[in-house]
């Protein structure tokens, strides 16, 4: 093992990590927005919205993220004639993927709240939206947060997939270093450690947030 290449190439890893963080942050933000919309579609009484939401989730969960990334990157320009900057295509593809998983997490979290809660709220004269806002959603968030934290961690890790479309994130840069130094192994260890630092930090932060929400139990 020889890590002497680091003195020359450490910036590759730092810059790659920076891209990975940016990718992950935008994916998480847009993924949650998309997930909320899809979850609302799935719990609504409108059959059409319901179907669209369910079909979307099933399709995304049933196809590899690698295929989805290629579809967005090569498919959109050739079909619609839209050309995105690489980074936007990457965020878009990851968002489309993550949104489906977030939707399922949110839907399950809302449906896990005891039915009696909504009944009690409605029996007091509250509108559906009032009951959702003050009773159901606050309780659902407690169910959702741990699973959502896992999803955020998954997003950080899976963002490595967009290296295939040439985004200079951590995985891509690690590969570049491997090529330049003819060292197959060591750059990957550095990348793995850096991914782990990111995901472990996030998992600790989520744990803290969960504990704060638990105060009323």
């Amino acid at each position: 093992m020889d890590f002497s290449f680091l003195s020359k190439y450490y910036l590759f890893f730092l810059n790659g990590a920076k891209f990975t963080v940016v990718l992950a942050i935008f994916t998480v933000i847009f993924g949650v927005i998309l997930g909320v919309i899809l979850a609302l579609m799935r719990i609504s009484n409108n059959k059409l919205l319901n179907f669209i939401g369910a079909a979307y989730v099933e399709f995304i969960r049933g196809t590899p993220v690698l295929v989805q990334v290629y579809l967005i990157f090569y498919g959109l320009p050739s079909i619609l004639g839209i050309n995105f900057p690489d980074m936007v295509a990457g965020i878009l593809a990851l968002t489309i993927n993550s949104g489906a998983y977030v939707a399922e997490i949110i839907r399950a979290g809302i449906q896990a709240v005891d039915k009696g809660q909504l009944e009690a709220a409605r029996s007091l004269g509250m509108k559906y939206t009032t009951a959702m806002r003050y009773i159901i959603v606050p309780q659902a968030i407690k169910n959702i947060l741990p699973a959502l934290g896992n999803e955020f961690i998954t997003v950080i890790k899976e963002s490595s997939i967009v290296s295939v479309i040439g985004i200079h994130e951590l995985m891509y840069n690690a590969d570049t270093v491997r090529g330049n130094t003819f060292r197959a192994f060591e750059p990957l260890i550095i990348a793995a450690v850096m991914y782990f630092v990111m995901t472990f930090t996030l998992s600790k932060l989520m744990g803290k947030a969960e504990r704060r929400l638990k105060t009323s139990d």
Binding site: S123, G125, Y134, S216, D217
Partner: protein
């Protein structure tokens, strides 16, 4: 106050209520008894539209509640309900549980809502629990809070859906005591229960339901001392 005409409720193929006709007058305490699966709870839940009846009419203070034009949220303000499983809001303190609906639905001021809440808490003997969370309370305490929460909307009628069935035996008394006091103050009440002692002592009228119909109704004396229907006699011989 409440008038029910030919109420029918079907779940898919299951015919749960088969033509219920009943009238509940102001200040009356009506206790509904009957075996499990007889439709008692479904009947009660139809009265505030937690279940939508398949057929029939329900009038509350002259308004047809199943009419699409009537505002069910407004009507529900006047119809308090107490559930078997309490259904307190676990994410809020006892005080917030009681004041939430007055604040958000009736737009009562915070000061006024809290004053009412403390009065109600005093009445049920749980003033010291205002800042507690439901998870810190016993079952009996939870149910008394649930009653207070419903009363905070100053309803005209209170529906009780087996309020003591989920309680440990030693806590049944404290809940029934609160209900008894409420009845004595003249609250109109419809109570689905297996507490025959409560029915005998507090009810103005007892309704016996079986297989989706009202088989027999009358004063507690009539029902408990000289039931006419063989099915009623059979049921009472098993529970008394």
């Amino acid at each position: 106050m409440i008038k029910v005409e030919n109420l029918n409720k079907k779940f898919e193929k299951l015919h749960v209520l088969k033509g219920i006709d009943v009238e509940i007058h102001k200040g009356e305490v009506v206790v509904v008894i009957g075996p499990s699966g007889s439709g008692k709870s479904t009947f009660l839940r139809c009265l505030n539209l937690l279940e939508e009846a398949t057929e029939g009419k329900i009038f509350f203070e002259g308004t047809s509640i199943m009419d699409k034009a009537s505002d069910i949220n407004k009507l529900r303000e006047k119809i308090g309900m107490v559930f078997q499983q309490f259904n307190l809001f676990p994410n809020m303190t006892v005080l917030d549980n009681i004041t939430l609906a007055p604040l958000k639905v009736k737009k009562t001021s915070k000061g006024e809502a809290e004053e009412t809440a403390y009065k109600l808490l005093k009445r049920i003997g749980l003033e010291d629990k205002a800042k507690s969370y439901p998870s810190q309370l016993s079952g009996g305490q939870k149910q008394r809070i649930a009653i207070a929460r419903a009363l905070a909307m100053s309803p005209d009628v209170m529906l009780f859906d087996e309020p003591t069935s989920a309680l440990d035996p030693e806590m049944v008394g404290e809940v029934l005591q609160v209900m008894k006091e409420l009845a004595n103050e003249g609250m109109t009440m419809v109570v689905v229960t297996h507490e025959m002692g409560f029915a005998k002592e507090v009810a103005d009228r007892v309704i016996f339901m079986d297989e989706g119909v009202i088989l027999e109704e009358g004063t507690p004396e009539e029902i408990f001392n000289s039931p006419k229907q063989p099915r009623t006699q059979d049921f009472l011989s098993k529970v008394l």
